[in-house]
Symmetry: C2
Subunit: 295 residues, 2 copies
């Protein structure tokens, strides 16, 4: 399969649907502007693509998981807005443009993040978008997304990351932070897609295993890019993790061993995906891409 073409097409679908789900409104005011600013600032739309591919892998129609794919991107976008705040990572640049609080002010950026997170839930409970689906499955998928986003997932990982800045790096803490901060929502993306695609319990269980592995590979790749990536391709400065004394895989085990570990995880994930046959091929290719990406 042509992964580049696949990613381009899926990202375009997601873009269209996001635009329809959070349209410009005259009455929307500054808050909607701030929310749209970050949601439409680009990005690879990896989480939505994983959700759609998860539905496909179990034999479902990816279009039926589209509302959930868009909700996942809203959750991701909110997390970046809050993560960039001065009280958190204090970043001025994201995807090559000024961060939300640099443009709209700190208070508005807090609210824009809150608005995006809430809108994700509005979308997950949209009667039009979920028409024709079993409401019990919709509820289950929504819960998976929110557990992945909450204090037992992404928020918990962010909190641990914040608390351990400038602590002595150790493997157990790095693993906890990675699994929660990035891994939980990536896993939830595939899992919710599989649920909405009508997957059986064993299929869902296998795709959760896939998700954990790509979550880890994704974060290792991110850490490596922050350490030795090309700032132009990344659209942001590199070296910030090291400067902030962040707990990362390369910091704990060195870049070479970290790369090795990331590749191992990606390979294992691809192997799990391939057991789904041709329907699992996109997930397999995505796993390898996630580790090999340059931005």
């Amino acid at each position: 399969m042509d992964l580049k073409q696949y990613l381009k097409q899926r990202a375009a679908w997601v873009q269209d649907n996001l635009a329809r789900n959070l349209p410009e409104e005259k009455a929307g005011g500054e808050i909607l502007k701030a929310m749209r600013y970050s949601l439409f600032a680009g990005g690879k739309r990896i989480r939505p693509v994983l959700c759609l591919a998860g539905a496909e892998a179990v034999g479902g129609d990816p279009q039926k998981a589209m509302f959930c794919a868009c909700a996942l991107e809203m959750v991701h976008s909110y997390s970046l807005v809050h993560d960039d705040l001065p009280a958190m990572d204090d970043d001025d640049l994201r995807r090559g443009v000024p961060t939300n609080h640099k443009v709209f002010g700190e208070g508005m950026a807090v609210l824009a993040g809150d608005g995006l997170l809430t809108q994700a839930m509005v979308l997950l409970t949209d009667p039009k978008a979920t028409a024709g689906l079993d409401p019990a499955r919709v509820l289950r998928a929504a819960r998976v997304v929110m557990v992945g986003a909450g204090y037992q997932g992404m928020v918990g990982g962010q909190a641990a990351d914040l608390l351990h800045e400038n602590s002595e790096p150790d493997l157990a803490t790095v693993q906890f932070i990675h699994a929660h901060k990035t891994g939980a929502l990536l896993t939830a993306s595939v899992e919710s897609g599989a649920i909405l695609g009508g997957g059986g319990e064993e299929d869902i269980r296998q795709l959760v295993r896939y998700g954990r592995r790509i979550g880890l590979a994704f974060q290792i790749a991110d850490d490596l890019l922050n350490l030795e990536g090309d700032p132009e391709k990344l659209g942001k400065a590199v070296g910030s993790d090291q400067a902030a004394g962040k707990m990362t895989y390369p910091a704990v085990m060195g870049p070479a061993a970290a790369r090795e570990e990331g590749r191992k995880m990606a390979d294992e994930a691809a192997g799990i995906a391939r057991r789904f046959g041709p329907a699992g091929e996109p997930l397999a290719e995505l796993a390898l891409y996630i580790m090999a990406r340059t931005h």
Copy 2:
């Protein structure tokens, strides 16, 4: 009916259920501590009580709406944590104790708010808590809560409030801010309760009308308390709205006319509730209490 006794009993139910839904956990770490700090810092639990009373008014079992009542309190609690941040209202004291960011730091307070908002959605999609309910009604109630909380509701009102600090007060802006910042979630509380209580469309429509009126009365009462309340009873300083140049009803029309308007709204709301007969009596009493309260 004995409203004081009623409120006390309902608040105790809610307290019990909140404690069960966000229990202390050894592995929960600092983030769970920060979330629980604000969720269990007291408060009148007005939104949950309104939700339970909404279910009751339409002949439903309030216990079946309990998960939604607790989710509403989590949403309310998150909004206070973010509202108190230095980039927002910059308050040091809330309900007589230091605000979240004063205790846990600003970054952790952002995350604690995010965690509470996300946990509300986890609760709204809890298969155990919603067992026996029609999943389509659960989805509808969850959506009502989240629309009330989002940029078309509470977040939108907060944003307008932030933008209009120190603008010349005008009635249209005050009405917009009040209806969104406080009114939307209070209305959603009664509406979601009515949905989960099995109410018909006309009942739900009437209770939304009720909700809009108490929302307005509640915010007017709040503004008046901020202007001329007793700091000891309130557990926070007064006069801060005036000092910050906030857009409030008393600022636009003077305290006497504002009080008049609030009483009118409360009376109208009580009238709507009484059409539900004895089952609507708690809502009627609550409407009058909301306007007459001293803290």
